[in-house]
Amino acid sequence: MSDRYDAIIVGAGHNGMICGALLAKAGKQVLILEAAMQVGGAAVTREFAAGYSVSACAHLLYQLQPQVLKDLNLNLDYAADDIAAIALSTTGDHLRIRGNHTEGLSEDDAVELRSFHARMTRYANLLNKYLNKAPPRLGVRNRRDLTTLAQLGFDVRKLGRKDMREFLRLIGMNIFDELEERFDNPLLKGALAVDAVMGTHLGPRSPTTILTYLYRLAGNQGRVAQMAGGMSTLSESLAKVARDNGATIRTNMAVKRVVVENGRATGVETEKGEVFSSRVVVSNADPKSTIMDLVNPRHVETGFTRRVHNIRMRGNAAKLHLALDGLPTIKGLDKKSFADRMIIAPDINYVERAFNPAKYGATSPHPVMEVTFPSLRDATLAPTGKHVLSAIVQYAPYNLKEGWDDAARDAFKQTAIDTITTYAPDLPERINDSELLTPADIESEFRITGGHWHHGELTLDQFMFVRPVAGAAQYEMPLEGLFLCGAGSHPGGGLNGAAGRNAAIAILRREKAA
């Protein structure tokens, strides 16, 4: 039995480390336990073939909150901080999109895009304001909650009559209808739709895909960045800040269970049998595994258990890594453009069709992809003159009907490679080595239930006041001494950091009140 910590954080994902660093900064004794050999959770760089490294799960940064960096006095080293999207076309007439600026659009579409982007940015900015605070509790008389709620109402109203109506109309809607109404260019519609459904079990026609689009935009005004040295650089920086502030981080320490004594979380027990005690336990794991595996439902109430049990978190994205001898050629694309992120979604129906089989437990025969060549901006990732391809491939349902085995994985990997080959015919001859991570692999490697990046689908019914579940959206779980700080809590997933920061604030506030 070791000394008693003020807080033990289960999992050194980015949110866990941010939360731990902030708690340590406030003078708390903090222990962060990580199951893997390296810190970072889903934000890690690892070698997947001799000499080739890649950001193994998340590969681009589009939501990290400036507020978090500011609180931690952190300056990050980006390889690029405003990457454009290139909507690939088989004919070579690609579309290049950066914010509201595009090359290759008709005048009509260009005008519409500017107005669409302006409106979405207004809504996203509104949303952004609420990413960085705990959602208000409903139906209580607490002053802070009431103020936040009134502020939210006021902010929505402040959009102005027309914009507010439009906001309320759009927020639960699917992005398909909105894009179809506005635009002609199929590549544009396809690429925008992909931004809305990336990492989700949703198609462009699914409800609330406007919300998911806004969420992505809300992070950092839609700017997409790439870390120098891959995601581990981010995670190592966070670990360093946490340590500098006095937190202890121990890797290769998988937590087996949260110790509950007399209705209170009092510490954790590791797989190796070590017990650490603390005043609060903060879980960076997803809400399902936190409650179902680490805590055990017998220590919480039935209504809460049922809600957690029913959180929708079926991952649907696979990750493809290719070790290449050299860059392939894509018709109409110069070498420089390989540094941008390429979108394979020739039109919006292509995206919906890719999603269709996933509803029935099958993979997409023609998947949607986000393809990057991170080595172009970051030479550390591949041997000199060689390159790495890192792509998100959708859809690959976690609940594959025949189950994920080597054959299923290889088949989908081939589908993904074939899909890129349509645009880059010489790709196959450049491949040295390859790897595909299915949602099942992501689940086991990164310890995320369902392999769902966001720790729970980002839809209106699992958003804000009801994230992860109703009555537990303020980071404090209905078990004394237990908090959540991961993406499963508000505001959600992506490498965002707000959940970790908000949780730290909630914990410190709770301590002060006690």
Partner: protein, 398 residues
């Protein structure tokens, strides 16, 4: 034009052939889809069988669940508000309420600890979705067995003598809220000393296909002891005398209630004694602890009302001039055994303390014309009817 009559009582209990033969009134109603009699001959006579001889009530339609598995004890303990781990061992029965996370009562019922890791839960309402949800993450099996078992309540001062006659040896040692297994014609017969009448009484549980032999043997054993089948009319009168709650009458099941403020917590139903905060966790604990600190909204009251006009559905006032409405009556009856006009009701806190005088607005009809009176009533603490014979062990022979 003809309207097809909808038969709400399409199910028949295993005892139905005997019930049908006794029935003289043809006043059946639906009890969760089963045919159940209001009364067979005369409600008053049947009532007096409960208090003066022995009454047999077919409670087979009662919803029954079997809970088994390694975690059954922990499961049941977390489900209900009272301590099931330490205080209700195998061979014991517990009256219990279970709440949602907001501490509002879903239902009340009896939980029979049949054997180690094996329970039967009996309730008025259906609860499979909730019971299944409560089983998430636990090693338990929940099975509805309503139709698998036939059950009879044998209630009244002669009930012990009749079971003695039936040859159940050892029945004399069965304490209130105890249960015991007997052999009956090669089948297991479970007898519990429980009931819904507040009197000496037992409940008998047997495989559905052995129902009729049990009925026949019981009536044979009781023929010199005034045994009589009764309907729900008589039972209802006696349960009000005993001060017992009925779902959808004294409270609404929380998970079927839409409006806020219409549900009740155990405290608001006078069931403080069932809430055990020494348990580290149970459904509703956090909310109930807060209610305990901050105070409840409602209070359950037992009323002893002047006069003899039944106060059904009456408003309750703090004053005779009916200026301050404080609540309403949920159940009311004339109590023949107590010679009292009694009622159960719900009033707003802080009203309704024991000993307080309140006024009940009673409407009554005499030869078509309606009259209204403000009847004075006293809030009482004890059940109206709770004879020493209910818990005497061994009970007296008659």
């Amino acid at each position: 034009m003809t309207t097809a009559a909808v038969d709400l009582t399409r199910l028949k209990t295993p005892f139905y052939p005997r019930l049908e033969a006794l029935d003289r009134l043809h006043t059946w109603h639906s009890w969760k889809g089963y045919r159940s009699a209001d009364a067979f001959t005369n409600g008053e006579i049947e009532y007096f069988a409960i208090r003066n001889s022995a009454a047999v009530f077919d409670l087979s339609p009662m919803t029954k669940y079997r809970i088994t598995g390694n975690d059954a004890r922990i499961y049941v303990d977390r489900l209900v508000t009272r301590d099931m781990l330490n205080k209700v061992g195998a061979g014991r029965v517990a009256y219990a309420v279970w709440c949602d996370d907001q501490g509002q009562v879903i239902d009340d019922g009896t939980i029979f600890h049949l054997r180690d890791d094996e329970y039967r839960l009996c309730s008025q309402e259906f609860h499979l979705p909730w019971l299944r949800a409560a089983a998430i993450g636990m090693n338990v099996d929940i099975r509805e067995e309503t139709a698998d078992y036939a059950a009879l309540a044998l209630q009244g001062p002669n009930s012990y003598s009749i079971l003695k006659n039936l040859g159940l040896s050892g029945i004399e040692n069965l304490k209130l809220f105890g249960l015991r297994h007997f052999d009956f014609a090669g089948t297991e017969l479970m007898v519990s000393r429980t009931g819904f009448t507040g009197d000496l009484g037992y409940e008998l549980w047997i495989d559905a296909d052995k129902a009729l032999p049990l009925w026949d043997a019981l009536f044979e054993a009781g023929k010199l002891h005034g045994i009589r089948a009764i309907g729900t009319h008589a039972l209802e009168q006696s349960r009000i005398e005993a001060g017992y709650l009925a779902a959808y009458v004294e409270f609404l099941p929380a998970n079927e209630t839409v409006r806020t403020g219409r549900t009740r917590s155990p405290f608001e139903l006078g069931l403080d004694w069932l809430v055990d905060f020494k348990k580290p966790n149970f459904n509703g604990r956090r909310a109930l602890a807060a209610e305990k600190r901050e105070g409840s909204t409602w209070r359950f009251v037992k009323l002893d009302i002047e006069g003899n006009k039944t106060a059904s559905s009456a408003y309750i006032y703090a004053d005779k001039r009916a200026k301050k409405n404080i609540g309403f009556v949920t159940s009311a009856t004339w109590s023949p055994v107590c010679k009292k006009n009694i009622a159960l009701g719900t009033v707003r806190m802080p009203h309704g303390k024991v000993g307080e005088t309140v006024y009940v607005e009673v409407y009554y009809q005499r030869e078509m014309h309606w009259s209204r009176m403000m009847a004075k009533a006293e809030v009482v603490s004890k059940p109206f009817w709770d004879p020493p014979r209910r818990r005497a062990t061994p009970p007296g022979l008659f």
